[in-house]
């Protein structure tokens, strides 16, 4: 079956997407596990101990993938939001809704592991460097999106309002990042950001890439599971959802 012959728009309806999401969730969850295992093994066991930071630096194998994913997921979320506004599609909005908590979680992990790394590396949990501060603001953007969704009862208004917010946020993310970077160079001479990481041996890079893919597949799997729950909740009055519930009983 050629790719172009599949009617992709069929999957734009929540009812048809529901079973596909279930399959995708399973595949990506299964793929994520060996990737994570390999990445962790390479990073925690195989990679050499750093001369300056000892073994404490190994937390970057979680910190960096989490930070990358937190930014990547926000962009994907904003893209789904743009789709939902232009196509007036419910499912796109549901995808954005499903991604937000995972993105926020990765942001929290990045901040937390960053603080844990900061303590042994340069003596303080929080050093107000440009990247960590921008990451914190990114967390506020995620939380703002989720809070706005939660505050609006009517689902369509919630979809559209939070989509506008996500897009405004996405436009502002580079502006905020560069302002914070400028602010940081102004106020602190020492760069305590990622450039203080040990020089990347290729094995460390491989480990980080593996962990990043693992995090990416995990994010997809979790988003699929979550979007299924969202679909069921929002479409609960339709006949297909009722049939599903009836069959399950």
């Amino acid at each position: 079956m050629r790719l172009s012959s599949i009617n992709w728009f069929k999957f734009a309806s929540p009812a048809s997407f529901f079973p596909l999401a279930g399959h995708l969730a399973r595949w990506f969850a299964v793929l994520a596990v060996p990737l994570a295992a390999a990445g962790l093994w390479l990073g925690l066991v195989v990679a050499p101990t750093d001369a300056q930071q000892g073994d404490a630096y190994r937390i970057i194998f979680i910190h960096v993938p989490a930070a990358w994913m937190s930014m990547f997921i926000y962009l994907v979320m904003a893209a789904w939001c743009a789709l939902s506004l232009t196509l007036n599609a419910r499912l796109s909005a549901m995808m954005a809704q499903a991604l937000a908590p995972t993105g926020a979680l990765f942001t929290v992990i990045a901040l937390w592991t960053g603080a844990l790394w900061g303590r042994p590396a340069w003596g303080t949990y929080w050093a107000w460097d440009a990247r960590m501060t921008s990451e914190l603001i990114l967390l506020f953007l995620y939380l703002g999106y989720m809070a706005l969704r939660h505050a609006i009862d009517e689902p369509r208004r919630a979809d559209r309002a939070s989509a506008v917010l996500a897009l405004v946020g996405a436009v502002n993310v580079p502006i905020i990042y560069f302002s914070v970077k400028w602010w940081n160079t102004l106020h602190q001479g020492a760069t305590v950001s990622l450039t203080a990481a040990p020089k990347m041996a290729s094995i460390m890079l491989t480990a980080m890439l593996l962990m990043t893919f693992a995090a990416w597949f995990y994010a997809i799997a979790v988003a699929m599971v979550r979007v299924r729950a969202i679909i069921l909740e929002r479409e609960r009055r339709t006949s297909w959802a009722g049939a599903l519930a009836g069959a399950a009983r």
């Binding site: 603001i137 939380l143 706005l148 208004r157 506008v164 897009l167 946020g169 502002n172 502006i175 602010w183």
Partner: protein, 235 residues
């Protein structure tokens, strides 16, 4: 009385829309002066709280001054934002505004302009006076006032987006703060940065230019985003 055959032009020019909204909102603001006074008072009180919190050491206050004055200006702005749309939303006027033949972004721009004139301008005018409490002087005061004049319109513009998104919601004010404060960060950084630049003898032109550029971008983008948000809220 009504000639159904007569057709007015489909869409009216933008500037008339700005003018209508500006005149009306200014007139309304002048008839409820108490609200304006409260918000200015809030600014004064917040600024005065900081020395009480950190001690009256002149060196410390000089270091803190720009940041404190700017943060207080942000908070005072936030306080006044719900006023932008909430009253019109409640009495049905906002719906009529959205249904007007004038372009909605133009009408919203007029409202934001009126908001700035009654909020940002008094703040910017008062700030040098308050800055004296923190030991700022001469060129720093100029940089502070200029920064606020350039920055407060952007605060109103970005705030309008948040105000429109949170129309009629329960936790409106706090939610608005959560949504808008991250967007305010660049304005804060460059506004306070301008004062500090002039403190060390550098011209604050660079920072002020950034604020000016931000204002231009916001002046174009924010009314469009706010219009979209207003229509969503009216749905």
């Amino acid at each position: 009385m009504s000639e159904a055959a007569a057709q007015p032009p489909i869409e009216r020019g933008g500037w008339s829309g700005v003018a209508w909204a500006l005149r009306r909102d200014l007139r309304l603001a002048l008839r409820s002066k108490a609200e304006l006074g409260v918000q200015l008072l809030f600014y004064v009180v917040v600024v005065s709280l900081f020395p009480l919190g950190v001690g009256a050491d002149p060196m410390l206050l000089r270091a803190l001054g720009p940041g404190v004055l700017w943060v207080a200006a942000l908070l005072a702005s936030l306080l006044s934002l719900p006023r932008l749309f909430a009253a019109d939303f409640a009495d049905g006027t906002l719906e009529q505004i959205a249904l007007s033949p004038y372009p909605l972004p133009a009408l919203i721009s007029g409202k934001i302009l009126a908001h700035w004139l009654t909020t940002g301008v008094p703040l910017a005018a008062l700030s040098p006076l308050l800055a004296l409490q923190f030991g700022l002087d001469g060129s720093e005061l100029v940089a502070l006032a200029a920064g606020l004049v350039l920055g407060t319109p952007t605060l109103s513009l970005l705030g309008a987006i948040g105000a429109a998104l949170t129309l009629g919601l329960r936790a409106g004010g706090a939610l608005l703060a959560l949504l808008i404060l991250p967007l305010y960060v660049p304005i804060l950084i460059f506004g306070a940065g301008a004062v500090e630049a002039s403190r060390v003898g550098l011209a604050a032109g660079g920072e002020l230019s950034v604020l000016g550029a931000a204002l231009l971008v916001a002046a174009i983008g924010a009314p469009l985003a706010s219009a979209a948000a207003v229509r969503i809220a009216l749905d």
